[in-house]
């Protein structure tokens, strides 16, 4: 086991897979010598050369489209989209083309590509560089969506994504690139659609995605000191979603909070909360709570931005109310 950063984990995953499979190439803006603005890909062009680590012009729809075509014809491209906010530019190629090609062709064509990008606010990058837009792609059939919450997951999920024969969108939390975790020395993959019980508990289930796993763990820590035992679950992929692990947990704890950094309304928390409400209904002792980013564009000012994302303290407080039976139907 070695302790490495999330950035390094992504880098290793890509390098290992590229060594294994010649058909993989990586394409995006400033991915080669610059190694991306976050330096996640540093060193790859030195090993694999500019024919496999391809710098593009600032043409997101164009290079995603190129990746789709390459994926249909024997290549396995990894697309680097510098900021998750730029998803809005590539939605047609991703959602009208990549996501639907296999289905529309009656299974004859496949689009084995990975689009890696990021999410997360509080970096003082303002409204167009801070969004967490994973809900949008999760709504579109044909895509898979992975949300690693640690270096360990980032590596394992990336390797699985690369080997998947479908278009996979993988969101890294840009605030976590320097966070370290233990990663096995031997090869491992993380299967899609298997949630992880990050911390077992009895009284309430906290389902957190990506950046919010740490927030949920922080809350669980606080709660433990008060004698409240919180189970923390990390879905790891939201498409496919491991409903069973979540439902099993909630049926045991009978309470749940879903925490995700996408906007609260029409977001990921709604899907998970409503599935719990539908399928664990008779086990629930309190209404399922949803905590997401505020429904506002991300403001630049630090004084405002920090208010928009759920904190461990807020999650703990909400959990207390649930456990004490003090969450009532608001009017």
């Amino acid at each position: 086991m070695a302790e490495i950063t999330l950035a390094k984990a992504v880098n290793q995953a890509i390098a290992e897979e590229m060594r294994r499979d010649e058909t993989i190439f990586l394409i995006g803006e400033d991915v080669a010598e610059a190694g991306t603005p976050f330096k996640v890909l540093s060193g790859l062009v030195e090993e694999f050369g500019p024919e496999r680590i391809i710098d593009t012009p600032i043409s997101e729809p164009g290079f995603v489209g190129i990746a789709v075509g390459a994926a249909m014809t024997g290549s396995r491209p990894i697309v680097d989209l510098m900021f998750g906010d730029f998803l809005f530019l590539v939605m047609d190629q991703l959602c009208n083309q990549a996501a639907k090609t296999h289905y529309m062709s009656g299974g004859k064509l496949t689009v084995p590509m990975v689009l890696r990008t990021n999410l997360g606010a509080t970096r003082r990058s303002a409204a167009q560089h801070s969004q967490s837009l994973h809900t949008l792609v999760a709504h579109i059939p044909g895509l898979k969506v992975a949300l690693p919450s640690s270096a360990y997951e980032a590596k394992g999920l990336m390797k699985t994504a690369i080997r998947d024969d479908n278009p996979v969108v993988i969101f890294e939390d840009k605030l976590m690139y320097n966070d370290k975790a233990e990663v096995p020395d031997t090869e491992y993959l993380i299967e899609f659609g298997r949630a992880e019980i990050v911390r077992p508990g009895r009284d309430i289930t906290l389902i957190g995605t990506s950046s919010m796993v740490q927030v949920a763990l922080g809350a669980a820590e606080t709660l433990a000191r008060e004698g409240i035992s919180a189970e923390v679950i990390d879905p790891r992929t939201i498409v496919p979603l491991d409903e069973d692990t979540i439902l099993d947990s909630v049926r045991r704890t009978s309470r749940a909070i879903v925490i995700d950094e996408g906007h609260r309304s029409y977001g990921v928390t709604a899907e998970i909360a409503s599935r719990i409400g539908e399928k664990a209904f008779y086990h629930l002792d309190a209404p399922v709570q949803r905590m997401g980013a505020m429904d506002v564009p991300v403001p630049f000012s630090p004084a405002l931005e920090d208010l928009t994302v759920p904190t461990a303290e807020q999650v703990a407080e909400r959990a207390r109310l649930c456990v004490r039976g003090e969450v009532f139907d608001a009017a």
Binding site: T23, F25, E51, R52, T56, P57, S59, P61, G62, F63, V64, G65, I66, A67, V68, G69, A70, A71, M72, T73, G74, S75, P77, D92, Q93, N96, Q97, T101, H102, Y103, M104, S105, G106, G107, K108, L109, T110, P112, P141, G142, K144, T160, R163, D164, D165, N166, L189, E191
Partner: protein
């Protein structure tokens, strides 16, 4: 392609036949629509046959094409069979896409047709990516990206032409200028010269009479071979005309184009009639030979229609199939 007809008799007749196949396919598709037997709408390629055939006859099976909403012609020209095509148009399980794609998404992977696309210009990236794939894998196949004059409005095209030029990819952008995008003339939609839009990226651009299958084929042979050698990309503007409305339901067209204009193109510039006349004049094929081809293909189309009408719809269970490809176990773990 040499100018000597004798050595090319087979090739010429094949081009003639392929154009006829497209025409009879469309005539039958239109009939299916008029008889209310076809689900939805469809866009006829009739009138533009020389473009698809002239180009695709310069391609190998392993060369790729991407196609458009007006895609039956490209599909036939790249080698597709009538039965699975009509099955697809009727939403039957034996269609090229098991009925899931329909007219606007018809594809024929075995013959290198990566598919029609219902997003105007939507396949520009796909074609360019296919060319990149070939180059990276050390293959020498070439990709042709078919699109209409209307697709020149889509910014994606400029993004990928720039990359194709920077990276010298083996892709040919084939712009079929049939003078209209839906109900609007090209002049109202496109400022400047169409070929200048590729030349701006340093891409060699050509303009050719899209009703002259020999001229199209000659140019295509040349460009395809050069693209194979790494001299691409290229851009070709093909001047042509669609005989029908924008789609089969577009009957009253007076407000955007005149009957006279339509009549003129059909009587003076029909690619099949003109090529047939040339074949006769050159003594390559008599009127009988050509009539025989017409009849054969018309018969084949009718047979295929009957087959498709009788064919089965996909099982209900197929609705949830093919959302995701099954990744082989070896890949998964």
């Amino acid at each position: 392609m040499t100018a000597d007809p004798k050595t090319n008799r087979q090739g010429y007749l094949r081009m003639y036949r392929q154009m006829v196949r497209i025409r009879v396919f469309e005539d039958n598709a239109n009939q299916l629509y008029l008889a209310a037997k076809m689900p939805g709408l469809t866009h006829m390629y009739s009138g533009q046959e020389a473009v698809a055939v002239g180009i695709c006859e310069a391609l190998r099976v392993d060369d790729k094409i991407t196609s458009t909403h007006r895609g039956h012609g490209h599909c036939v020209a790249k080698g597709a069979e009538f039965r699975p095509m009509f099955c697809e148009l009727l939403g039957k399980a034996e269609g090229y896409c098991r009925g899931k794609g329909g007219s606007m998404h018809i594809a024929d992977q075995d013959n290198g047709n990566l598919g029609a696309n219902a997003i105007v210009g939507g396949s520009a990236g796909i074609a360019t990516g296919a060319a990149l794939s070939a180059r990276r894998a050390g293959r020498d196949d070439v990709t042709v990206c078919f699109f209409g004059d209307g697709a020149l409005g889509q910014g994606l095209l400029y993004e990928v032409m720039n990359m194709a030029a920077l990276w010298r990819l083996p892709v040919i952008y084939a712009c079929e200028n049939n003078l209209y995008g839906e109900y609007t003339r090209v002049e109202e939609m496109a400022a400047g010269e169409l070929t200048a839009r590729a030349e701006a990226f340093g891409i060699e651009a050509h303009r050719v009479d899209g009703q002259d299958v020999l001229a199209v084929n000659r140019l295509a042979q040349d460009l395809v071979e050069r693209a194979r050698k790494g001299e691409g990309p290229f851009f070709v503007q093909l001047d042509t005309y669609r005989y029908h409305g924008h789609h089969v339901g577009d009957i009253n067209r007076g407000y955007y184009r005149s009957k006279d204009e339509e009549a003129l193109w059909k009587s003076e510039r029909d690619p099949i009639a003109n090529f047939g006349r040339w074949l006769s004049e050159q003594g390559i094929a008599g009127a009988d030979d050509l009539a025989a081809i017409d009849a054969e293909e018309r018969g084949a189309a009718e047979e295929a229609v009957a087959y498709a009408e009788a064919a089965a719809y996909p099982d209900a269970g197929e609705v949830a199939m093919h959302v995701h490809a099954q990744t082989p176990a070896l890949r998964a773990l």
